[in-house]
């Protein structure tokens, strides 16, 4: 079974609604995730010189990346 994200991590809107091409382009170019893919809430994101952390206040850690 393949799990798919319920929400876009760039804008928080459901993946099944609208076009997320700009969100994906932004994520690929310069952005860490901004929204929780599980619940769609804004993530608490800390960008660091060589990485970033992201946390959803409801769902927990959404990612830790040390480049």
């Amino acid at each position: 079974m393949t799990l798919t994200a319920a929400h876009c991590d760039g804008c928080g809107v459901s993946e099944t609604q609208g076009d997320h091409g700009r969100c994906r382009a932004r994520r690929a170019a310069t952005d860490p995730p901004r929204f929780c893919t599980a619940c769609g809430r804004k993530l608490v994101v800390q960008v660091l010189p060589v990485g970033w952390t992201a946390r959803c206040v409801r769902c927990g850690d959404a990612g830790v990346v040390a480049r």
Partner: protein
Amino acid sequence: MTMTQSDVLDVAREQVLERGEGLREEQVLAVLQLPDEALSDALALAHEVRLRWCGPEVEVEGIVSVKTGGCPEDCHFCSQSGRFETPVRAVRLDIPSLVEAARQTAQTGATEFCIVAAVRGPDERLMAQVRDGIKAIRAAVDINVACSLGILTSEQAQELEDMGVHRYNHNLETARSHFAKVVTTHSWEDRWATLQLVREHGMEVCCGAIIGMGESLAQRAELAAQLAALDPDEVPMNFLDPRPGTPLADLPVVEAPDALRAIAAFRLAMPRTVLRFAGGRELTFGDLGARDGVLGGINAIIVGNYLTTLGRDPQEDLDLLAELSMPVKALSETL
């Protein structure tokens, strides 16, 4: 005297390269208006000027946000303003994480580490956080500490100088004549006053620009002249990254040739300053931009990530500098 496009580079060669005297506003405008065919000549001259008056070294810096989001100001380019519905959520960085960020920055060979906060100006809590953070960094990491905490009082400027802050960043962002279209909660003059305090209290002055916020070429030249009048130690050059939710979200990304003309023009206006590649370069130039910029007047870079967005892999920039035989400035040369 009106400066024509055709002769501005000849004049600049004698005035800036030979005598070290920066271009005036109308001359800067002529550079900004150069046709694409003349761009490589302008960049080559700017590079010669940089080598002549600054040397081959490149100053490397890392930055980090200790207080992200929730800012009361309305800077229209900024995703950290609490006045706009942007994806950025407020967060503060704890001291151990700040020290680790400084350590990671130093490992890239950087000599500068800038602590940044999204505020109008620092309150007691932030000043205490910065004081504790700088003390912890100094105990663990060999690097110059800079700060960017917004509008300062004279007492705060003195306190930062006492903490050992090497350089203070406060950008003018755009020309005085355009500022009210970009920020309404404080004035260009408020920013200028803080910059004067920074200098009066003995810190190095870092004051930059964001290119591409709807300003005209004449206003770009105006900003270069205003920065030159300030005579800052460093000028970070940012290119607008139109952030979702901000009033400038729908502005186009600056075209690479326009950005390169701005780099060359600002170098020719300020032959001796540290001219730093800062935010937005990844969008404006892509992977080729770093090379064009450092061969066109740039002599400093921010490595790694920015405050809320991601930059290039630091190693890619360091590899490029090595390939171009541009040594990274050592800490001993900055003290």
